[in-house]
Symmetry: C2
Subunit: 113 residues, 2 copies
DNA sequence: AATAATACATAACATTCTTATGCATTATAC
DNA sequence: GTATAATGCATAAGAATGTTATGTATTATT
């Protein structure tokens, strides 16, 4: 089962920042594969979502990049900047809090029925 | 603290379906207040998001409506249809599952650092 | 030799939320 | 008593962000 795409909206940036916080540096394709692996294929990040998000993180100074060649094939590695590390902590914390709230909402028992 | 709006994206329909599953019938304004109350004001549903969503649920046959007058003021009550009840269970279940997955992702310990 | 996987990128389109606006009734505070 | 806040609905322009499709190229596998 793959989660409906709408569910992933709004969490993508946080997922990426969290992975980069844990792994020092990663390249785009690697991120998609890591997320797929860690979630038993339930979250599949599409390239059309991934690359614009990475570029936005770069534009806002949260990540820095290094380009490397593996043979003739290019790889662009992303790493968190100092700001990015702070932002990663904030976003992860916010999402954890949000999930606690949602868990509470979803576990509510039926009321005036 | 109010959650960043992007976080709520994708969960709004599920929240509404869950509330309707628990409460037999509710009207729009009541839903916004209930969510605000249950989440200690951390989730505030705006009218511009709420009403289009309710209308979409109605158009897809997941809810039925009854209009009532309180004095001269109109209220539109929403109730789950049979399909809506099924859908509510599905969406709540999917979101619970998704949150477990996200919790796992966010709780991961740093790796190759 | 053909196909799949790796690896980047962008663009048209769709969806969905924000922000603003509009209208109207009822309760509250000054 | 009247101005403001709260209640209650609705829609529309614009922004944000994801989907789907496309493009290019290298390397591994069948």
């Amino acid at each position: 089962m793959i989660y409906s795409s709408e569910l992933i909206k709004g969490t993508l940036k946080t997922i990426i920042l969290k992975l980069l916080a844990d792994n020092k540096r990663m390249y785009g394709y690697e991120i998609t594969q890591k997320v797929k692996e860690l979630t038993s294929e339930k979250i599949q990040i599409t390239e059309g979502a991934l690359y614009p998000t990475l570029h936005a993180l770069e534009d806002s100074g949260l990540v820095t990049t290094e380009t490397e060649y593996i043979g003739k094939r290019v790889r662009k590695y992303y790493s968190l900047s100092a700001d990015g590390k702070t932002k990663a902590r904030e976003k992860v914390s916010e999402l954890s809090d949000f999930m606690e709230t949602m868990k509470f909402l979803l576990d509510l028992k039926p009321q005036g029925i």
